[in-house]
């Protein structure tokens, strides 16, 4: 069984905990009372007024004029996140953090020591409350996909267990919007076919789904049947860190691919830095419209987790090392292998200031991303590819 543990209104809860006078009042972390900036987190009181994260502070202020705005303290939240992870790691080494306030755990190997996975989930939830005075929602289910839905289902302070023989009963009544990857476009397709629940989606054959959604059809079919065999991999133990994306429509323009690459590289860079690891070999994966898949790799002189270094290598592979054939790309992937967790960096004789500047840039960008979400800060090249 897999556990998904998700802190409830994490930043806001931390602020309430440290300043009990805030309890019961609408609290917004991020942005300013003058209405500048973006909401990083809102407590449940503020959410009642329709305030949510990534909303412009001005709008939040209009929706909830009495809200108390608090400046985020990201390094402090990161410290608490580490304390939470310490609790996780007392139960299992298989912890895959998704962000500061959310992680997957695979505790199957620890059941003999601590009791069933559900029991472990309950213990962790209790300890987070008693030791850290914070509230987590916990989902326990046979796989990641179900565990994530489960933790979200009764938020806040939720605790939902999905036993293997209840999977279908659990999924069927849920709206299709609960499935990963269902955005506006896919939602419209579901609407057109009057598919509202996962149960209705499950009635469709795999072939029909392929017709409707192309390459994503297979995934929807699996999810509707509660199938998801991704493992919980702690990044620390991973042999590689990678990220890929399948496009809704094949992409033929190099500039657009490059913009997507930036996004993939930034995510990989963030994950490397979060775990203080560096990679030495960079891989680019390209799947063409005819499903031919090509990978190209390049070994750097030194291991790095600087986004700019990774990006330079990725762009080199994308623009110079691919075979000369017309571009029509359905999937782009970027990964890093030869991981180095020594916590050491070979210093350079020349351009050390440039490197430090890039490092600093990453550090600030990571903080902003942690604070305001992925859309808050982006490299210039990415702006062309404005989606959503």
């Amino acid at each position: 069984m897999i556990l998904h543990i998700d802190m409830d209104a994490f930043y806001a809860s931390v602020e309430e905990r440290d300043n009990p006078s805030l309890v019961g009042k609408p609290v917004i972390v991020g942005g300013s009372a003058e209405g500048r900036g973006v909401v990083a987190a809102a407590n449940y009181e503020a959410r009642k007024y329709g305030v949510h994260s990534a909303m412009a502070a001005g709008r939040a202020k209009r929706l909830c004029p009495q809200a108390i705005f608090i400046k985020p303290r990201i390094s402090y939240y990161a410290e608490i996140s580490r304390q939470i992870r310490d609790i996780f790691e007392q139960y299992t080494p298989l912890v895959e953090p998704l962000s500061l306030d959310e992680a997957f755990l695979d505790a199957s190997g620890s059941e003999a020591l601590f009791g069933s996975s559900a029991e472990i989930g309950r213990q962790i939830k209790r300890r987070i409350r008693t030791e850290l005075n914070l509230v987590a929602s916990v989902g326990v289910a046979p796989n990641k996909f179900l565990a994530k839905i489960a933790s979200d289902l009764r938020k806040p302070d939720g605790f939902v267990v999905v036993e293997p023989d209840q999977v279908q009963a659990f999924l069927d009544p849920l709206p299709v919007g609960r499935l990963w990857g269902v955005g506006k476009v896919t939602g419209q397709v579901f609407d057109r076919w009057s598919i509202r629940t996962i149960g209705q989606l499950r009635q469709l054959s795999r072939e029909t789904l392929d017709d409707l959604f192309g390459s994503s059809g297979e995934r929807y079919w699996q999810l509707a049947h509660g199938i998801d065999d991704r493992r919980v991999t702690p990044d620390r133990e991973a042999k590689s860190i990678s990220n890929e994306t399948t496009f809704a429509e094949d992409i033929a323009e190099l500039d657009i691919l490059r913009a997507w690459l930036v996004e993939l590289v930034e995510q990989v860079g963030r994950r490397l830095r979060r775990h203080d690891i560096k990679g030495r070999t960079v891989d680019l994966k390209v799947r063409y419209a005819d499903f031919t898949t090509i990978t190209r790799s390049m070994t750097l002189p030194e291991p790095t987790n600087i986004t700019q270094d990774l990006l330079n290598a990725g762009v080199e592979l994308l623009t110079r090392r691919l075979p000369s054939r017309p571009l029509s790309v359905r999937l782009l992937g970027f990964g890093v292998t030869k991981l180095d967790d020594s916590g050491r960096t070979q210093q350079q004789l020349f351009d050390q200031p440039d490197r430090q500047r890039n490092q600093e840039l990453d550090r600030v960008a990571d903080q902003i991303t942690a604070k305001f979400g992925k859309l808050a800060i982006r490299r210039g090249a990415r702006l062309e590819k404005e989606e959503d």
């Binding site: 203080d276 030495r280 002189p301 030194e302 291991p303 030869k338 991981l339 180095d340 020594s342 916590g343 050491r344 960096t345 070979q346 210093q347 350079q348 004789l349 020349f350 351009d351």
Partner: protein, 371 residues
């Protein structure tokens, strides 16, 4: 052309030249050497157009001057497989005949005039360096170059000739080797402001062309190329284009640093020992100097750990630094084992500066802890 050669001398010269020929080339004639015989000497030539050599063949009796083009693979085999003392080579318009005591080969003849010209040394202004010094200038710097660098032109050794000083510098951006010595400028030759970066491969070929004799070598740096004349050969090479970083800034000017003297041989052994428990992913070796000893320790996951201790003449404050052992080994390898070198350290973040008393300086940047 008609001439008789000492087979072994011809083979030596041929092999020296053949290393320059490209293994694959769009111009097939380049996978040949050209043999040119005049009344008083013979020369083997090879080139890949970037780099060319003319190697003198001693021990030739010329009956008719002329030249021919010989395929490297087959002609090399003929020379190697033979045990004859003398080899006679004769060409006419149809082919080349190679004849030993009881063997005879006929090779098709390409037109020697189609072989690209390989520049000879006719410079009036040049720089004169003892063979011994030039060998050290090359050996002590060429290993530090980096053909992959895109930002700077590091794929060669920078040569500066100014007055009586000749300086060679090689770097890959993580360590830098500099060797300095005294030569003699003829005709006011100097590199001035021009960047003379001789490609790594050319430097290796030049080194191979050096004799052990107590002679001098002539270097002429021009704007795009360099010509080098050794007692047995002339080497022509195009220069690496691009910018060499400001290498002088790399040598720190330190008021307060710890100078540690070590004997090369034992230190090199200790480095090699500590290096055993490093891996590609975990390369660092910790060097801790102090208390009359240096302790080297290394640890790599899945590989193990090591601790090696070596007594040294240093009693200053304890100072530690983590270095890539390959970089320090590269430095020690090119020095005589009984020589003493000085390591100059400031702290664990600053460069380690290694020097000898004969003009060699080597800067290594450490592996610093991430903040």
């Amino acid at each position: 052309m008609k001439a008789t050669f000492d087979r072994e001398k011809l083979l030596t010269a041929f092999q020296l030249a053949a290393t320059v020929a490209p293994s694959r080339s769009p111009k097939p004639i380049l996978s040949n050497v050209k043999l040119e015989v005049t009344a008083d000497q013979a020369i083997v030539m090879a080139t890949d157009l970037e780099l060319g050599v003319r190697v003198v063949v001693p021990g030739v009796q010329c009956e008719a001057p002329g030249s021919c083009v010989l395929p490297i693979q087959r002609f090399g085999s003929i020379l190697r497989e033979s045990s004859d003392a003398l080899i006679r080579i004769e060409t006419d318009g149809h082919g080349t005949q190679v004849r030993g005591d009881r063997s005879e080969f006929k090779l098709p003849a390409a037109n020697p005039d189609e072989f690209p010209a390989v520049a000879s040394f006719a410079e009036k202004s040049y720089y004169e360096v003892p063979v011994k010094l030039l060998r050290e200038l090359i050996r002590r710097t060429v290993f530090a170059t980096d053909n992959e660098s895109s930002r700077y032109a590091l794929g060669g050794v920078l040569i500066e000739m100014q007055g009586s000083d000749i300086i060679a510098v090689g770097t890959d951006g993580r360590r830098l080797a500099k060797m300095q010595g005294q030569g003699n400028s003829v005709g006011g030759h100097s590199t001035g402001d021009q960047m003379t970066i001789i490609p790594t491969k050319a430097m290796q070929v030049i080194e191979r062309m050096l004799t052990d004799a107590d002679e001098t070598v002539q270097l002429a740096a021009r704007s795009n190329d360099v010509l080098v004349k050794t007692p047995r050969a002339t080497i022509y090479s195009r220069l690496v284009e691009g910018r060499f970083p400001r290498w002088r800034d790399v040598f720190p000017k330190r008021e307060e640093a710890h100078k540690i003297d070590v004997v090369v041989g034992p230190f090199y052994t200790a480095v090699r020992q500590a290096q055993i428990t490093t891996s590609e992913e975990s390369r660092g070796v910790d060097f801790t100097f102090g208390d009359g000893k240096v302790v080297l320790s290394a640890r790599a996951a899945d590989v193990g750990q090591s601790r090696v201790e070596l007594p040294i003449a240093y009693d200053g404050p304890t100072i530690g630094i983590m270095l890539d052992p390959r970089f320090i080994a590269d430095f020690l390898r090119v020095l005589d084992a009984d020589r003493t070198c000085t390591i100059d350290l400031k702290d664990s973040e600053g460069a380690a500066v290694c020097t000898t008393d004969d003009g060699y300086g080597y800067v290594i940047m450490p592996l610093a802890r991430d903040h």
